[in-house]
Amino acid sequence: MVAPTQPQTPAAAPKYTKADFQSDQEIRWCPGCGDYAILNAAQQVFAQLGFPKHKMVMISGIGCSSRFPYYVNTYGFHTIHGRAPAVATGLKLANPELQVWVATGDGDALSIGGNHLIHALRRNVDIKILLFNNRIYGLTKGQYSPTSELGKKVKSAPYGSIDQPINPITLALASEATFVARSVDIYPKHLMEILRKAADHKGSAFIEILQNCNIFNDLAFDHFVDREARNRYNVSLEHGKPLIFGDKRELGIRLNGLNPEVVKLGENGITEKDLIIHDEHNPTLAAILSRLNPPATADDMEKAQAKNPGSILPLPIGIFRNDRLPTLEERTDGQIADQKKAKGEGDIRKLLFAGDMWDVK
C-alpha cells in the first residue's frame, strides 16, 4: 500500500479564502493575546499560497502557542512539550510532499525542546518553525522563560531572574538554519510577507515572532514596537539594500570593526555607501546582525535614552538568512534512489537468503 493516490494537481492552484483555514474549534486564547494576530496572518497567507490544504500540516508542542493546530483547518498534531520539531522531522521524511509548519513558544522551543530545535535546523528539514516569543511562560501562569530578560520579577523569581536570556536568532543561525527571520505580531503586513517567503523557502525556516502576552508580560516589546517607537528602534533587513531607519530614514548601521553602530546620514560625510548592505546569503553577516538589540525593557530604554540616545541600536526585522541548500528529505530520498539503482529494488527473498547458508535435504 502506498499513500492514497492524489487527484492530479489541477492546472490552476486551488482557490481559498481565509475561512477555508478556520477550523470549527473554539479558540481558547485570552482576549487580546498576540496569538490571534499571528493566527489571522497565517490563515490569510495559507489562503493566498494556493497550496492544497490537505497536504498542509500544523505541528506543535505544549504551551499557549501550541494550541495553534486546533484552530487551522488543515491536518494538525498537537504533540508533547518541546518535541514538535522531531515529530515534524519524522512526518516530513515519511512524506516529503507535505508542507509542514511548526508552532512553538520560547519555553517549548528554547527550553525543553532546545535540542530538537537545533538538530531540526542543522539537518535542514523542510519545515517552517514559527517561534511565538513572548518572553514568559503563559500556560503555566507566568514563570520566566529562556528569553526573559535578566532581573525580571515573576512568581518563580520573586527577586528577579538570574538566567542570561538566549537570543533565538543567533541560536538559529548557529544551528545552520537556512532561512532565519523576525517579525512582530502587530505588524500584519510584514508578518504575512515573511510567512509567504518562509513558505516559498525549501529547507528549515525559523521565524521569531515577537508576541505580546497581555496577561503575564504585557507590553514587553512596546518600547521598540509601538507606533511612535518602531521607526527609530526597528531596522528592516532587505536583501541588497543598506540598513537605513529612523523617522525620516536619516539613520543607518555601519560596521566599526566587528561592531555595528548607529550613524547619522550626512553627518561627518557619512553616505549610504558607508552602511552595511544586507546580504541574506551571508551567514557571517547574519550572525553579526543577530546581535543588534535595543534595550530589553522599557526601564533599560529610558536609561539608555538619558545617557546616549543616538547610539541605541534598533531591532532588525525581516530576513537574516535565506539560502537554498539540500534538505534532509532530498538527501534521504537521494540515498534511497542511489541504492535502488546500485542494488535493485529490495527483494525480501534476496535479503533472507544471504550469507553462509546450507541445505538440509
Binding site: 522531531a86 521524511l93 507535505l98 535540542n115 538538530h119 542511489d338 529490495g346 525480501i348 533472507l352 546450507w358
Partner: protein, 628 residues
C-alpha cells in the same frame, strides 16, 4: 555421514571419536578478536549442519585496560548433533589468550576439561595486570585440567615468516594468533576451513589498508598453520566429530537476534506495503538493528539517527502519522526517556513499534550484559492509564517472527507495541530455517480515504481501533493531540465521563488483541503438578531443564509466553491446573508479579540478576527440589 575433513590435510590421528555435543569458550582481551573468532567457529559449525547456540559476553569498554580482569571478553558456543537450546552450562574447552582470561573463566571449567593457553602472554607484566601472584602455568592451578600450554603467538609469527608487511609488521602478524588458535580447534573437532577462508577473503579484502591482500593471506596462513600444528604435533589424544543435527528440510543460515529482528521489520513493512521508518539513538545492545537497517535503503527503509532517544521515538510517531511504519529501537534507559512520547502514541492511537533490547540495570547498569527487567517498565512505566501491547521472542531466530507480529498488532489495533528482546538474544545466534517469503501472510493495512461517514475517533467494532487517515488525503483534515479528545469526533474535551470512557476504550482495545493471540501450549505429562512458565530468552534453559527432569520421571510441565500483554486467553485456565507454578526470570520477579496480580495464583519465582543467562543445571536444581 562422514564430515568433511580439514581442507587438504590427511588425518592421521590415532583415535577418532564421535560425540554428541561440545561447549567451547574463547576468552581473551577485549581487543583480541574473541567475538570474531567465535563467530567464525559458529558459522563453520552452522554450515556443517550442527545445531548450535552462542553466548557472546564482553565488557562495556571498547578497550578496557589491556590484560586486566574487567577487560576480558568471551564467546561461548555449544554445537551438537542433537537439538539443543542453550550455549551450554560449563565449557568442555576453554581457550585463554592471557592470564586475566584464564583467571576469570577457570572457575566455570569442570575438572578434567580441556584448557588451552597461549603461553606467550604469561610474562611478568601480563601476570601483574591480571593480579596473579604466581604464574598459573606452573603453580598447580592447571593440575586438575587437561592443560595445553602452547606458544600461540610465536608459532603464529613463525608461520607468517614469509610475509613482510611494509608497516607495523609484527603487530599485524600477531593479530592472527586467534586464527592459529581457531585452526587448532578446527583440527580437534574436524571442521573444514572453507567457510572461514571465504569469510576472510570477503571481509579482509574490504579493509582500507593498502596491504589488504597481504592481510587476507596472513589470516588464511595462520588458520592453516594452526590446523597443521595440531595435526603434526599430535597435540591431542583424539580427534572428535560432532555430526550434523537432524533438521527439517530447508535452507538454513546462522542468525543473531538483532539481525533477525531487523530483517523481520523490513519483511513486515513489505508485507504491510508500508514504508519502514526506524528512528533510533545509538545504545548498547540495540545499535546493531540500526546498523542493519541502514544498509537496506534499497528497500525504501528510512533510518533516522536522532539527536536523542526522545527525538527518535517522536520522529517515528511523526512518520506513523504520515502513513509510514514508525519503529523505534533502544534499550531500557532509552525506553525510560521515550515514555512520554509512547503515551502520545497511546493517546493519538497511532501504530508504533518499540524495540527494547533489555540490558542490566537500573540506570546505566550493565550495558553489555543481559537481563529481563524491563517488563514492568513496558507495562506500567508511563503516566496514567497507558495500555500497550507487549511481545517477547524466545530465541534469536524468533526475533524475526515477533517483529512481524508486532507490526501486525500495532497496525491492526492502532497502538504502541513493545518487543522485549534482550542482550542474550540480540547477540546470541542459532541456525534459522529461512522462511519462504511467499508463505508469510500479508499484513492488511488500509488507510481511510473516504470521508463519507468517517470521524477521527470512530471505531472498528471488532478491534475498537480508529481508522488510519493520513495527511495528504483530501477532505479528511483533522487534528490529533496528546490532550484528551471526545469520543468519535476527536475534539479537545475535558468532560469527566468522556475521559473515563476513552480510558476504558483504550484499555479494551489492547485487551482485544488477545483474540489474535494463540493459546499458550503446555509441554509435559498429563499428570504434572508443577508448571514452569517463562518468557523471553529464558526459553532455552527452561526447556532444557524441564525436559531433563521429565526424562527422569518428574511430574513437571512447561509453558512459554511470547505475549505478555495481553496474555493468551487460556492462560488463567492453564495456571489453575497446577499445584505449583515456577517462574524463572532474569529479574526479581516481574512476570511473577503480573501472574499473581492477574490470576491470584501462588506462583513462585526462580530469579537471577547477574547479567548472565540461567544455567540449565541451576534450574534443574530448583525444579527437583520443588517437585519433591
Amino acid at each position: 555421514m562422514t564430515p568433511p575433513t580439514a581442507t587438504g590435510i590427511e588425518t592421521t590421528a590415532k583415535k577418532h571419536e564421535t560425540i554428541d555435543k561440545v561447549v567451547i569458550r574463547f576468552a581473551g582481551d577485549s581487543g583480541d578478536g574473541m567475538q570474531v573468532t567465535g563467530t567464525h567457529f559458529t558459522n563453520t559449525s552452522a554450515v556443517l549442519g550442527n545445531d548450535l547456540a552462542t553466548f557472546p559476553d564482553f565488557p562495556a569498554e571498547i578497550r578496557a585496560p589491556a590484560g586486566s580482569l574487567p577487560g576480558v571478553s568471551g564467546f561461548q558456543i555449544q554445537f551438537s548433533s542433537m537439538d539443543i537450546h542453550t550455549p551450554g552450562d560449563r565449557p568442555d574447552v576453554l581457550i585463554a589468550f592471557n592470564p586475566a582470561a584464564l583467571k576469570v573463566n577457570l572457575k566455570d571449567m569442570p575438572p578434567n576439561s580441556v584448557v588451552i593457553v597461549n603461553t606467550d602472554s604469561f610474562g611478568e607484566v601480563d601476570l601483574k595486570k591480571a593480579n596473579c601472584a604466581t604464574n598459573p602455568l606452573d603453580d598447580g592451578t592447571l593440575d586438575k585440567f587437561q592443560a595445553y600450554k602452547i606458544p600461540i603467538t610465536e608459532l603464529t609469527m613463525k608461520a607468517l615468516e614469509s610475509i613482510k608487511f611494509q608497516e607495523k609488521d609484527r603487530p599485524k602478524k600477531e593479530r592472527n594468533k586467534n586464527f592459529f588458535a581457531l585452526g587448532i580447534l578446527y583440527w580437534l573437532y574436524n571442521r573444514p576451513m572453507e567457510t572461514t577462508m571465504n569469510a576472510i577473503d570477503r571481509e579482509f579484502s574490504k579493509k582500507k589498508d593498502p596491504e589488504a591482500p597481504l592481510l587476507v593471506q596472513a589470516a588464511q596462513m595462520a588458520l592453516k598453520a594452526g590446523v597443521i600444528y595440531a595435526e603434526s604435533t599430535e597435540l591431542f589424544r583424539s580427534q572428535y566429530t560432532v555430526a550434523p543435527a537432524k533438521y527439517e528440510k530447508g535452507t538454513y543460515r546462522n542468525i543473531s537476534g538483532n539481525v533477525a529482528l531487523a530483517m523481520g521489520l523490513v519483511t513486515a513493512s513489505k508485507l504491510a506495503g508500508l514504508q519502514l521508518f526506524y528512528g533510533s539513538y545509538p545504545i548498547t545492545p540495540a545499535s546493531d538493528i540500526l546498523h542493519e537497517l541502514a544498509m537496506h535503503k534499497n528497500f525504501g527503509v528510512k533510518t533516522f539517527q536522532a539527536e536523542d532517544e526522545i527525538a527518535a521515538v517522536a520522529a517515528a510517531i511523526g512518520a506513523s502519522f504520515g502513513g509510514s511504519l514508525g519503529v523505534t529501537g533502544t534499550s531500557g534507559p532509552g525506553v525510560a526517556l521515550k515514555s512520554e512520547a509512547i503515551n502520545l502514541a497511546v493517546m493519538t492511537e497511532l501504530p508504533l513499534v518499540i524495540v527494547d533490547i533489555q540490558r542490566g540495570g537500573p540506570s546505566t547498569g550493565l550495558p553489555t550484559k543481559t537481563e529481563q527487567a524491563d517488563l514492568l517498565q513496558a507495562m506500567f512505566g508511563r503516566n496514567s492509564e497507558s495500555p500497550v501491547g507487549i511481545l517477547a521472542p524466545a530465541t534469536p531466530a524468533e526475533c524475526f517472527d515477533i517483529a512481524i507480529q508486532a507490526v501486525r498488532f500495532a497496525t491492526k489495533y492502532m497502538c504502541p507495541v513493545f518487543i522485549l528482546s534482550d542482550g542474550y538474544l540480540a547477540n546470541g545466534a542459532e541456525p534459522w530455517k529461512i522462511p519462504d517469503p511467499a508463505s508469510l501472510p500479508k499484513i492488511d493495512v488500509k488507510f481511510r480515504t473516504d470521508p463519507q461517514g468517517w470521524a477521527p475517533y470512530l471505531r472498528n467494532e471488532v478491534t475498537l481501533s480508529r481508522d488510519w487517515a493520513i495527511p495528504g488525503t483530501p477532505n479528511m483534515e483533522h487534528r490529533l493531540g496528546g490532550i484528551e479528545k471526545s469520543h468519535i469526533y476527536g475534539s479537545v474535551n475535558y468532560d469527566p465521563e468522556n475521559h473515563e470512557f476513552m480510558c476504558r476504550v483504550r484499555a479494551a482495545k489492547v485487551a482485544r488483541m488477545a483474540q489474535d493471540i494463540p493459546d499458550v501450549t503446555v509441554h509435559g505429562p498429563e499428570d504434572a503438578n508443577t508448571l514452569v512458565i517463562g518468557w523471553g530468552s529464558t526459553y532455552g534453559a527452561t526447556r532444557a531443564a524441564v525436559e531433563d527432569c521429565q526424562r527422569r520421571g518428574l511430574k513437571v510441565a512447561r509453558a512459554h509466553l511470547r505475549h505478555l500483554n495481553p496474555f493468551p486467553a487460556n492462560l488463567g485456565k492453564v495456571l489453575s491446573r497446577y499445584k505449583k507454578i515456577l517462574v524463572p526470570e532474569m529479574n526479581l520477579g516481574q512476570l511473577l508479579f503480573l501472574l499473581r496480580a492477574k490470576f491470584l495464583c501462588d506462583a513462585r519465582g526462580i530469579n537471577k540478576v547477574q547479567g548472565k543467562p540461567f544455567r540449565v543445571s541451576e534450574l534443574i536444581e530448583v525444579i527437583e527440589k520443588e517437585c519433591k
